[in-house]
Amino acid sequence: MSDKNYITVDYHLRSWFTTHDHKRIAILYFAGITLFFFIGGAAATMMRFELVHPNGYFVTSDVYNRLFTMHGVIMVWFFLIPSIPTTLGNFVVPLMIGARDLAFPRLNLTSWYLFMIGGALTLYAVFIGGIDTGWTFYTPFSTLYSNGYVVIAVAGVFVAGFSSILTGLNFIVTIHRLRAPGLTWYRLPLFLWSLYATSVILVLATPVLAMTLFLLAIERIFGVGIFDPSLGGDPLLYQHLFWFYSHPAVYIMILPGMGVVSELIAVFSRKAVFGYKFVAWSSMAIGFVGFLVWGHHMFVSGQSVFASLVFSFMSFIVAVPSAIKVFNWTATLHKGWVSFDAPMLYALAFIGLFTIGGLTGLFLACLAYDVYVTDTYFVVAHFHYIMVGGMVTAYFGGLHYWWPKITGRLYHEIWARAAAILIFCGFNLTFFPQFILGALGMPRRYHVYPPEFQVWNVFSSAGASILALGYLLPIFYLGWSLFFGRKAPNNPWQATGLEWQTTSPPPPHNFEEPVVVTRAPYDYTLDAEAQPQNA
């Protein structure tokens, strides 16, 4: 066996773009989503800048509409949905189950190319004139009236959707078929349970979105009335089909984050996760019940009151498994030996922010209150607490946690903690005022607003600049660590997962010896050494 790892095995650029190695594909994805994250972030920055002034001072309505659409489309489909599964997931799934690669390595590379083609199409639509529909592409506005490049953008999302489907398929099959001997379901790390649930949603919800967007494009191109009420179509049908994907998509975004946090909490409090089976099955429950609640996006759309009642009820139910997770994480911390390394700071931030986001979600599940705050900043704040406060925070936590494994280098701990704290403070300053704004009645997608809302908007924009700084910092210290960081040991956190039992960075086929698993994950004790899963 050569002593080369997956990075040093071949330096040619071509070897990267034709690779079948899941670890290299993860790096390719990482490059892609980082690019999209900062493009989407730039749009957000410009929006927050515009909102400092109530009169719509800096940009025209057309430009503003394009900004928030671009922010939404790029962040949802090209950052949040692929982020954890395709980067951290791609990297660690085979490692965690002791496999040499995913079940379908070529398919994995294909899905990266599809993702980039989809992203390129969407960016193309943005650069030749933009889209002004909002990320939801609601008909009949998107098909009849919009003066943006809807079809191209929709085509981009359509293509990227197939990338999601293939990734989900790959994970499901891999977790079923390629587990190392001895790795039973209840010995799987919780990250894999959450990715499995995520993959189920990716595979079963995304195709509906694909067909819906296809119909939308047909309607716009040929002027036929699939969703156009004046031609007998039903715009609410579009919304049903769209949210049948897009609500579960929220769980595509948050479930992997929950999985990462489960790992981090266990490692950094040196304890097994409290109620392992509950946490595992709550992922599956969220994945399933998440399919039954989409109508809560349509309470004021004109859907029948009966349907609204059912959807409202189901939306309360879906809070239960999320709450189980939060309680179990907190219980894990209890009497643990908690250390506050940077990944743990992110994990703790996740728990707090996700709880706020989740609880305000219950407000929105109430029919009566939802009618009042629909399409206000209350909703905007709520889902940013889940998506940014939850998902992006977990992503950063996971990125720091697995960074030594991925790159073989250690980052600078003090800088990393500073960035984590900066992000936490900046985030709250940005989005908490938006709850207040929403409760006062400020509608979303408005860049001209009554002057009495200005003070909260200024707070929010100030917070956004701190947040932006927090997100820029890692570029520098993580980039620095790539070249000058100390060499990482194989298992810097003394963690039990299989991914830590191989070298950092891992060899091309992950393990030099076949792996046999002998124990459950998280075999930590406060006084003794942690027991790796294959020891």
Binding site: S61, D132, F141, P229, P235, G441, Y446, H447, V448
Partner: protein, 158 residues
């Protein structure tokens, strides 16, 4: 929030002051400028304000004036030169159309018939009416519809 559907909402202002109206669903370029306000006044102030308004009278009587000014009465009125469907007792009733179907004469139907008269032709009539899409403003349209509504309980005089 479906195009072509009408919603009615009543509010009871508990406090004097200005209430904002916002567009609740993203609707196009100037979505952010699509707003309005309701100003709640004490009844004494309201009476003052009303007295200062030049075109006093309720919406229906404004509509009646428009109905004559725009020439609608020439055809739809009594003894008109052109035969057009009578509007008395129309509102809320079923209307047979020339293609064999039936619609209910609700707000949307009245509005559509003023703006796009040749889309739904009443059975037994010629499609002669011109479109008023460019000739009446949104406010005037409300007035006209209010006038036609006010005829709901009247017998046709023909």
């Amino acid at each position: 929030m479906v195009p072509g559907r009408y919603q009615e909402l009543t509010i009871e202002a508990l406090r004097v002051g200005t209430y904002h109206l916002f567009c609740a669903e993203f609707c196009g370029t100037d979505h952010a400028r699509m707003g309005g306000q309701i100003i709640a006044l004490e009844s004494r102030d309201y009476a003052d304000w009303l007295a200062r308004q030049p075109n006093a009278g309720d919406l229906a009587s404004q509509g009646a004036a428009l109905f004559r000014a725009l020439g609608c009465s020439g055809c739809h009125g009594i003894g008109g030169s052109v035969r057009a469907p009578p509007l008395e007792g129309l509102y809320g009733k079923p209307v047979p159309l020339s293609d064999g179907s039936t619609v209910t004469a609700d707000d949307r139907y009245l509005r559509d018939s003023i703006l796009q008269p040749d889309r739904q032709i009443v059975a037994g009539y010629e499609p002669k009416m011109p479109s008023f899409a460019d000739r009446v403003s949104e406010d005037e349209l409300f007035a006209l519809i209010a006038y036609i509504k006010s005829l709901a309980n009247r017998e046709s005089l023909r």
